[in-house]
């Protein structure tokens, strides 16, 4: 299990990133602050704060943090080692390139998991005390889905990093991904609706074609929210997760479990592409 040795080394390395800890500190404060706001400002919770509502409220900030932190902690994962030449230390040892990629993925995921779990615990404890309601099972489920989401994002960034020997290019790829697939994805969705409707916008969002629901799950942070709705169907804010509300879409695939499938695809595909490119490269 040579990837474990690589993962441990990579964890020891990445966990000492000051930038990541600075970002994590801000994230922790934000999470606790938002939990307090949720519990004390009736407007936010719709007049009736609950532990389950709090979980969905916190999931949003977790989604934002993981995407940014993964880029920060991961874009150099492979490209940086190639640029500096330290990859030759690791690869002069008996590790396959597959073990190196796998070890990198798990090492970076573990580093990102620390602030995610820490903030989740802090946020739910503080919020739970103030709300006077706890939802232990739902909290654990949120934690598990958040870890799957973290794994997916680490896979995306490490996978992109593995396609190149230049950190500049790796950073451009990771930021470009974030801009197109996260920030401006709504534009892509609208453009698709526009084009497929014969170059005219549908009269209202309810007139969007059903399959657009799937397109809306593409951004990992949307798949994350939708997955959460799948595992916590009773939550008030759950509905159908990201994108169109349930009921609007009647197709057989209009289930929030689509989000879990999308996350699984994000876990597997980018890292596979990165591995494929890295394995073929002259270092």
């Amino acid at each position: 299990m040579s990837w474990r040795v690589v993962a441990r080394k990579d964890f020891q390395d990445a966990v000492r990133s000051r930038a990541l800890w600075a970002l994590s500190g801000v994230f922790l404060l934000l999470t606790v602050g938002l939990a307090v706001l949720y519990a004390t400002l009736p407007v936010i919770a719709g007049g009736n704060p609950t532990a389950l509502g709090l979980i969905f409220f916190l999931a949003g900030i977790i989604g934002t943090f993981v995407s940014i932190a993964a880029i920060l902690a991961g874009y150099k994962a492979v490209a940086g080692e190639r640029e500096r030449g330290t990859i030759k230390i690791t690869l002069s040892l008996p590790h396959t390139r597959r073990d190196v990629i796998l070890g990198k993925l798990l090492g970076r995921t573990a580093v990102l998991a620390l602030p995610v779990v820490g903030a989740l615990v802090a946020g739910t404890v503080v919020g739970g005390v103030l709300v006077g309601d706890v939802a232990p099972v739902a909290t654990v489920l949120l934690g598990l889905v958040a870890l799957l989401f973290t794994l997916a994002y680490a896979g995306i960034v490490v996978g992109l990093s593995a396609t190149t020997g230049s950190t500049t290019r790796a950073a451009a790829l990771a930021i470009g991904f974030f801009l197109v697939v996260e920030l401006f994805w709504d534009v892509v969705v609208l453009a698709l609706a526009f084009v497929t409707n014969g170059f005219a916008l549908p009269a209202s969002p309810t007139a969007f074609p059903d399959w657009l629901y799937l397109v809306q799950q593409v951004p990992p942070s949307s798949s994350f929210m939708t997955s959460l709705a799948a595992v916590l169907p009773d939550a008030p804010a759950a509905a159908a997760g990201a994108g169109q509300a349930a009921g609007q879409v009647t197709a057989f695939y209009a289930t929030p479990w689509v989000g879990v499938v999308a996350l699984a695809v994000w876990v597997v595909v980018p890292i596979a592409i990165g591995y494929y490119r890295f394995d073929a490269a002259d270092l």
Partner: protein, 302 residues
């Protein structure tokens, strides 16, 4: 069994040929110096041995194993001191060594491996705080983990102080004494000369010589170097000297000239210089040093 066996090894990057049909056998148990100027293809060769780079054509075998198909087994039995002394800045020395011990499944305390190269007291400091000499010792201790059958040193002397160079020599000797093979790449002949049984000289991706140091001296002609100082050296003088029989490499240094010539050609060299209109102020002869031999090989009589 050969420690390293290269057969018609070729590597091209686009239009650039880094290695051009290299055949080489490094015997088991020998200390082999792999010489050549920067960019000659030494690093590419080592990169192929470790499967960092895949050859365009030809074969490379290490310890009897195919360098590509059996790379994992090769790397289990090889210790490598990589070029450039890069380390993981955020890891301590101990974490570096522990990583290698775990990777090679060797049961030893990191601190013991570090003590062997005299850096045990820096074990818990981050490697970014190490001096260049300490980084080199750290990487040496990592390369020696598990007593590898083949030790590959990629340009180990670059930028080292004399103590560092001595340390490299000590490690090479100890490794050879326990019967392992050392493959020592360098662009500096003097650092290879003292420790190597045989050397190979690479130039522009081609192996131009493989021999023992003594053998090289003999095939090099055992000639002498004639150093001539003039009051001003016209290009015509250079051409006249180069055209002479019995003259090897000719190197110009301002108004001085270093000429590789056999004994009978010396007078002719002086005559040729004066014949071209220069005045000889001084001249001396010295028997040809290995350094000049090396230069003659790598510069090809330029």
């Amino acid at each position: 069994m050969a420690a390293i066996e290269l057969e018609d090894l070729t590597k091209r990057y686009g239009d650039v040929t880094a290695l051009d049909g290299v055949d080489l056998t490094v015997r088991s148990g020998e200390v082999f110096g792999f010489l050549g100027p920067n960019g000659a293809g030494k690093s590419t060769t080592i990169d192929i041995l470790l499967d960092f780079v895949r050859p365009t054509s030809g074969q490379a075998a290490v310890l009897g194993l195919d360098a590509q198909a059996s790379s994992l087994e090769v790397r289990r039995r090889v210790g490598v001191l990589p070029e450039g002394y890069q380390v993981y800045d955020r890891l301590t020395g101990r974490q570096h060594v522990a990583f290698v011990l775990d990777s090679k499944d060797v049961d030893e305390e990191p601190i013991d491996a570090m003590a062997r190269v005299g850096i045990a007291d820096a074990a818990d400091r981050r490697a970014s705080d190490y001096s260049k000499g300490m980084r080199q010792r750290l990487l040496l201790s990592m390369a020696l983990v598990g007593d590898p059958d083949l030790l590959v040193l990629d340009e180990p002397s670059t930028g080292l102080d004399p103590a560092g160079v001595r340390e490299i020599r000590r490690v090479v000797r100890e490794t050879a004494d326990r019967g392992a093979t050392v493959f020592f790449s360098s662009h500096i002949l003097s650092q290879v000369e003292a420790v190597c049984d045989r050397v190979g000289i690479l130039r522009d991706g081609e192996l131009v010589a493989v021999d023992s140091i003594e053998g090289l001296r003999e095939t090099g002609g055992g000639g002498e170097t004639l150093r001539v100082t003039t009051d001003g050296l016209p290009d015509a003088a250079l051409e006249a000297v180069r055209a002479l029989e019995g003259v090897g490499a000719v190197r110009r240094d301002g108004d001085s000239l270093a000429v590789e010539a056999d004994g009978t050609a010396k007078t002719a060299v002086l005559d040729a210089i004066e014949g071209a209109g220069a005045t000889v102020l001084d001249f001396e002869t010295e028997s040809r040093s290995l350094e000049e031999l090396f230069l003659a090989y790598t510069e090809g009589g330029r």
